[in-house]
Structure formats: structure tokens, C-alpha cells
Symmetry: C2
Subunit: 126 residues, 2 copies
């Protein structure tokens, strides 16, 4: 089932916040507006991380460690998954050193406090 436009717009808002605030300004407090309280993060090279404290710590270290400068997120496929949204996406990353990488991801989106947030987030490199 296709995802209503209003939901897609809300999802883009969340993705933009990740791009501009979390990666762009390294403001990891904004992650609380991006991930649900019970979110599960499944990053390459580490075990599953559950909850906001761990997710904040992960991204703080990852953004600094990778010298990540920009992360543009693009939806490749979206579908309703009951009350949630299932998304396949692509992230185009650039580092301060001028390197770039492409990452593909799956996110299960969930509505929380009126916003659409990432409830499960897994990715890997192309």
C-alpha cells in the first residue's frame, strides 16, 4: 500500500534534520527527534544498539570518526507496514577529506509524538 503524501513529507522533514542538524552541525541531541525512544540501530561492524543514549553515543563517535560532512538520504521505495512505514533508501555520504561513499539502508518508520521517526535502522555500504 502506498504511503500518503503527508507522511512522505513528514519523513523528508526527519531526513533533512539528520542531514542539516545531526551531520551538518554535529548536534546529536536532535537525534531524539529522529529516532523513537525504543529504536534499534543495526550498524555495520557493531552489535545492535537499543535506545536513545546508545544511539546518540554511536553517532557522535561515527560522525567524528568518519569525518562525515554530509549525508543526503533518498527514498528508493516506501510502503505502508500496518501503521508504520517500511522504507528502502540510499545515503550519499561525503567526508571532510573529500571522499565519498554510497550506503543503502532499510528503515522502519513509526509515528511518535506527532512526528515520523526511525524505529529500526540498518544499513551497509555498496
Amino acid at each position: 500500500m502506498s504511503v500518503p503524501d503527508a507522511v512522505l513529507t513528514a519523513m523528508r522533514k526527519t531526513n533533512d534534520l539528520f542531514h542539516t542538524a545531526v551531520v551538518g552541525k554535529r548536534d546529536v541531541q536532535q537525534l531524539d527527534r529522529i529516532y523513537t525512544a525504543g529504536a534499534r540501530l543495526l550498524p555495520p561492524g557493531a552489535s545492535m544498539i537499543t535506545g536513545r543514549d546508545g544511539i546518540r553515543a554511536f553517532w557522535q563517535q561515527a560522525i567524528a570518526g568518519m569525518a562525515l560532512e554530509s549525508a543526503r538520504l533518498t527514498s528508493v521505495e516506501t510502503q505502508m507496514a500496518g501503521e508504520n512505514v517500511f522504507e528502502i533508501g540510499r545515503a550519499d555520504l561525503t567526508m571532510t577529506e573529500g571522499q565519498s561513499a554510497t550506503v543503502k539502508y532499510v528503515v522502519l518508520w513509526k509515528q511518535e509524538d506527532g512526528d515520523w521517526k526511525w524505529d529500526v535502522d540498518i544499513w551497509n555500504a555498496d
Copy 2:
């Protein structure tokens, strides 16, 4: 919403087939009983692969290349996603050389021809 026992049983049957037939006997034809006709595979280190021919070719090469001997799949979390099932899981891999690895994955399950199959499959290493 929790997944009915009958569906969980059908999912285990599919996972067992991957373990015993595809990895155990290297019978990649059985992948047609595991992945839906339109399945999307998002493997680490490669672009997204869509459809059975590409998926069969990927696994043939991956199983031989990794010298994969065993892949035990365990559900960590399952939830209904509309008519589909969203799963977080863990794969315990062993290679013919005696090495082992743990992989975490997300699968979107879909019913096709009466069987529960993998419609989207993404994973990465711990």
C-alpha cells in the same frame, strides 16, 4: 502486533530451507522457495539486487567465495507489518575453514504461493 504462531512456524520452515538446502547442499534453485519473485537483496559491498536470477547468482558466488558451511538464522524480533511480517534476526555463520561470524539482518516477509518468503533482505556483520 504480534505474529501468529502458524506464521512463525512457516517462517522457520523457510529459514531451515536456507540453512539445510541452500547453504548445506549448495542447492541455489531452492532460493525460489525462499525469496519472492520481486525480492530485493541488499548485501554489504554490492548494489541492491532485484529478482530471482540476480539473487541466485549472488548466493552461488557468496557461498563459494566465503566457503560458507552453515548459516543458522534466529529471529530476534518479529512484528506484523500490515499483511507482511517485519523481522530482525541474527545469523551465525561457520566456514569450512573453521572460522565463524555473526551477522544481523532485517527481513520483510511476504506470503507468496502459500509460503512465507523473504521480500526484502539486508544484513551486515557485527
